[in-house]
Structures are given as C-alpha cells and as structure tokens.
C-alpha cells in the first residue's frame, strides 16, 4: 500500500483514494510524427525494478493530477511533485539519490 501526499490539496492518503495514470514525463508524438516515434509513444513504456516516476490523479479528492517518484521494489515513495513540470524537481532527485545513489530513469539521474 502506497501512502501518497497530493501536492495540490496537501492531503496524505493511501493509494485507494488516488488512481495511477501511468508513466510520467511522456512526450507526445501525434499526427505528423514518424511511425517509430508514435509506436514508442504508445507502447514503449518504462517498467523498471526500482526508481519509477509516475502520474497519479487524486480522483476521490481534489481531482487533480500530480507526479510521484517511488520505488517499485520497496514501494517507498520518494516524493510527489506538481504535474506542471517536464522533469522532476531537484529536491525529488536529491531524495532519490540519497536512497538510491546512481539511479537513472530515462534521461534523468
């Protein structure tokens, strides 16, 4: 069971109050993109053992989307941060590095 803190409304709740929204920081490839890019956008998702960045929605609360950094092995939540960003903020990166030195996730580390 994950305990997440919604950065929008400040509520800390367990995961059944939220809904997972898949991988974070996807770049959309839509009409006009190459078939390879479109395929990767749709299907090539990260499925790491360890540090993972995800989108979540507080669907039984304020209804807003946000990002969460967590560990898929230990289920530890490193932190949550607003949806309006294309990469994790430095304090989240630091929190992950403190527990998992040398971590990487796509282009982030």
């Amino acid at each position: 069971m994950l305990i997440l803190t919604c950065p929008v409304c400040g509520v800390t709740a367990e995961e059944t109050e939220f809904h997972g929204g898949g991988e974070a920081h996807l770049k959309r490839f839509g009409p006009g993109s190459s078939e390879g890019d479109f395929h990767d956008y749709l299907f090539s998702k990260e499925n790491p053992k360890g540090v993972h960045l995800e989108r979540w929605r507080h669907n039984n609360g304020c209804g807003k989307w946000f990002h969460a950094a967590r560990d898929t092995v230990t289920l530890e939540v490193y932190g949550t941060y607003p949806a309006q960003t294309s990469e994790p903020p430095q304090d989240i990166k630091d929190a992950i590095s403190a527990k998992r030195p040398g971590w990487t996730w796509r282009d982030f580390s």
């Binding site: 929008v8 409304c9 400040g10 509520v11 709740a13 367990e14 059944t16 109050e17 669907n59 039984n60 609360g61 304020c62 209804g63 807003k64």
Partner: protein, 191 residues
Amino acid sequence: MSNTVSALNGASASGYVQVHEMGLQGMITLRGDLSAKKLVDAAKTAGGTNVPGRGHIALSGAHGIAWMSPDELLILTPYDEVDARLEGITSKLAGTHHLAVNVSDARAMFAVSGDDALVRETLAKLCPVDMSAAAFAPGQFRRTRMAQVPAAIWLPETGEARVICFRSVAQYVFDLLKGASLAGSEVGYFR
C-alpha cells in the same frame, strides 16, 4: 407544483450514533481562479462567510463555503435561497471566466451525531482518513472515498459530522453509515 424532496426524504437510523439524511440542502459549485478578488468577493457574498483556506470549511449559521480543490468552492445555503444567491454570483462575475451551478439536487447530505469518539469511529470505519482528534479537527474539510464512492466530510462541532455524497449513491451511503454504527459494533478506537 411538484413537491421537491431530498434523496432519502430525511431518513434516519440510530445505532451507537445517530445518522440522519438532512433533507433539502442548497449547494452551489463555484469554479474559477480562487485568487481573483472578484471571484472571492462573489463567493463571500453568496456564502455569507470568508473563503476558507486549503482543506478547510468556513461556516456561519446555515451558510458556509467549503474548499473543494484549488479552483473550486462549494457554497452551502438554505435550499430556498439558492436561486437568488446563484443569480448574485452570475451577475457579479459576468464577463469573468467562471462556472457557477446549482448542484443542490445532485447531492445528498448526512448528519452523523453522538459521542465524538464514536462519530469519528463511524467515519474511520468507512474512509481511509485519520479521524483522530489530533489529525482531523472541526473546520477541516476532506474529500475522500467512503467505501466505494466519493464523499466529503467535515465536523461542524464536537460530536457532529457531515457527509456529502452524490444523490445517486445516497441510499448506499446511508446504508454504509447505518451499518458502520450498528449498536454493539463499537471498537472504541478513539476513546
């Protein structure tokens, strides 16, 4: 003229706390930029109280304003005042990007009353919320999940709780509250 009735028409149950469907309750959803003075002023006038901070509810008699999300307020008024107050908001905010809707008949509201520890226990049985007095105090407002449906809860005073849910699940929520407060099923966790 049709006779307006609330979802459960004032149903009540009594176990170790009293559960009561509160009948017709006026509610207005107001969405927009909560930092804009114009919108705050309109909300204050309609709600009869100051706009509460994040995660709180401001109450003043039969009126109140609840903080639903960073761009949404729920204004509570007596049922027969809704139309006039909604009109007030709409005229004040004309030309401003906002949404104001009468949602009175789309929702149901319940009162749970009795011993404070047992009222908290009833809600704690149904919601994934820390209901201890230290974590959830009167004045706080929490949207959450009650068993399988969304609900919003707050404590107007010690030994009193209010629950708002969608009208379509009013019977479900009533049965939940009734079941959770069956006499003899007290856990006494918050005593």
